[in-house]
């Protein structure tokens, strides 16, 4: 790798957007608090100073209209990057994703492209409660015509944001609040993390652990204890949940013959369910154990810290599942 620098995740996102805005005048940011306030958590700080209010647009609290505006603007030649704040708020704009942005190109017989990025934040682990802590990426992963990316560290945060802005399709960019201040080495030169490819964090032989978004941190925590137990883990960071990087997952499972999927969203109807179904359909003869999931239970996420801890998947739950599987 060429020259690198230390940057935390929120600045990695900020730099990615700023660099793309400098490169391409059709890129603009839009949403609640993104302009003058610099973002509800500071991710878009300074952009209004460099690019002006025309390209850093503060809006009323109107999630549906924000995403609708993005869709219409993208179909009209611009490249919007919107912030929707907490992912729960995106429920107010599911219409615009499901019926409009994801279908528009197909429905209109390829007359338009819809290059837009919408940022939404997951906030599990903060006691933010039932209306601010949900992981809803699975809804959007089930929509043809759009992409969903999930950075797990500053490197993927910057590279996936750049790839998302340059992509000609609607992209939902799911960023974890808990990692905003986590620092990492990222290249100084321009780079992207390709959409649709998983990243191998560690190679191993006994089991593939497939981590989704911020769960990568929990998976990393689990690695030393699993190694102590004599288990050789191949750790993949999924990076994209629509389209799922199935070929990368298949390659790894063919090698390790076991798969555990780790995600913060509910187990029921989650990404893991889809991956497990595809793996057993396509790699049944390779599997030495059932495909396992470590994910949230079928209930609601609480503000109450003890209940929230019980709800969220973590390193301990992953370790227990992997050990049980290999046993």
């Amino acid at each position: 790798m060429s020259e690198t620098k230390m940057l935390n995740l929120q600045w990695a996102i900020n730099h990615a957007i700023a660099e793309e805005m400098r490169r391409d005048p059709s890129v603009f940011i839009v949403g609640e608090d993104v302009g003058k306030p610099g973002g509800p958590f500071g991710v878009t700080r300074g952009l209004i100073d460099e690019f002006g209010a025309e390209r850093a647009v503060d809006t009323p609290i109107s999630e549906g209209a924000i995403v609708g505006l993005c869709c219409g603007a993208a179909a009209s030649g611009l490249r919007p990057v919107a912030e929707i704040m907490f992912m729960n708020f995106i429920t107010l704009a599911v219409e615009e994703f499901y019926n409009q942005a994801s279908k528009m190109r197909w429905m209109f017989g390829a007359q338009v492209k819809v290059p837009m990025v919408v940022r939404a934040m997951t906030a599990g682990g903060f006691g933010a409660g039932p209306h601010h802590s949900s992981s809803l990426e699975g809804w959007f992963a089930s929509m043809p015509g759009m992409k969903v990316v999930m950075p797990s560290d500053p490197y993927t945060a910057k590279g996936l944001m750049k790839a998302a802005i340059r992509d000609d399709n609607p992209v939902l960019y799911v960023e974890p609040l808990s990692l905003y201040t986590v620092k990492g080495e990222i290249p100084v030169d321009d780079y992207i993390v390709p959409i649709g490819e998983a990243r191998t964090i560690q190679e191993g032989n006994d089991v593939t652990v497939l981590s989704v978004g911020r769960m990568l941190g929990e998976a990393r925590k689990a690695l030393p204890k699993l190694e102590e137990a004599g288990i050789s883990v191949e750790l993949l960071d999924i990076c994209t949940v629509n389209p799922l990087p199935m070929e990368d997952i298949y390659s790894s499972v063919k090698k390790t013959n076991r798969l555990v999927i780790l995600h913060e969203a509910k187990e029921t109807m989650g990404i893991g369910a889809e991956i497990a179904a595809s793996v057993q359909e396509n790699l049944f003869d390779y599997l030495d154990a059932p495909v396992a999931r470590v994910a949230a239970p079928f209930t609601h996420i609480a503000f109450q810290p003890l209940l929230e801890k019980e709800y969220l998947p973590d390193a301990d739950k992953l370790i227990a599942k992997v050990k049980a599987l290999i046993g």
Binding site: S62, G68, S76, E95, R105, N169
Partner: protein, 319 residues
Amino acid sequence: MKISKEVKIDLYNRMVRQRTFEDETTVNFASGDMPGFLHLSQGEDAVPAGTCAHLSDEDAIYTTHRGHGCIIAKGAEMNPMMAELFGRIDGCCKGRAGSMHFADVKTGCMGSNGIVGEGMRLALGTSFAQKYNKTKNVTLVYFGEGATGTGSFHESFNMAATLKLPLIFICNINLYAQMTPKSDHVSIENIADRAAAYGAPGVTIDGNDVEAVYDAMEIALKHTRSGKGPYMIECKTYRHHGHFEGDPCNYRPDGELEKWMKKDPIVLYEKKLKKEGVLSDKEIKKIKADTLKEVQDAVVFARASAMPDVSEMYKDILA
């Protein structure tokens, strides 16, 4: 305002084209050859004609599930449009969209929409792009009074006003939200009064008087092109057909349709143009005959076009 003879003939032509096109779809739908749902706008013809007569291809429109009239008035070609309604490969959306999801981007028709009220949110984006690119173009969004019950109406008007977007809201009051009469779902007489809530001008006009629509649009354009933000024109009109083709319309009071048929915008305008000496009976006859031939040729074109191969379903999902 003084309207030139050329514009008067243009307004008349647009209305006849809309009406003839839709009347022909009625026939082909009834025969079972046109798949899907069909929502028609006969009777509301003056609104698209009077508004679109001011626009170029660089101006954009968003319309509704009842959008054929707007799209014809905006200038879309009839052949690909009819082929689209028949679900054929030569349709301008390759036969995927049909009546309710139709778009013809090169003429600025950014889409009809199957979701009531949703065109308003999308129109924010196109008008935003027009402003962002420092053009003098505008976006029109058409909707019925039923759509003013959606959150999209409030969100979109408020956002257009706060961002000062070149967006003109055109409300067709056709007296029904699907099957529920206006008196049951709108709490005020004139929807245009709501524009004041956003600090924008709103006018209420006779939507069956095509020249009144044309004049109102001229004022709206002046306002919007000068950077003052959105404007609303409420056009009081009536839907001759039911909510959908096949709707028995048993919710209509006796005599209501007959009363409105006497105010048919095309009949009214013919009388006026004849009286003013703009068009003769013979010229009117010729316009109608030529238009009918164009529409019937479009039906022949559409019927001759191939059905899409099933593999089409998997194309163009992503760019």
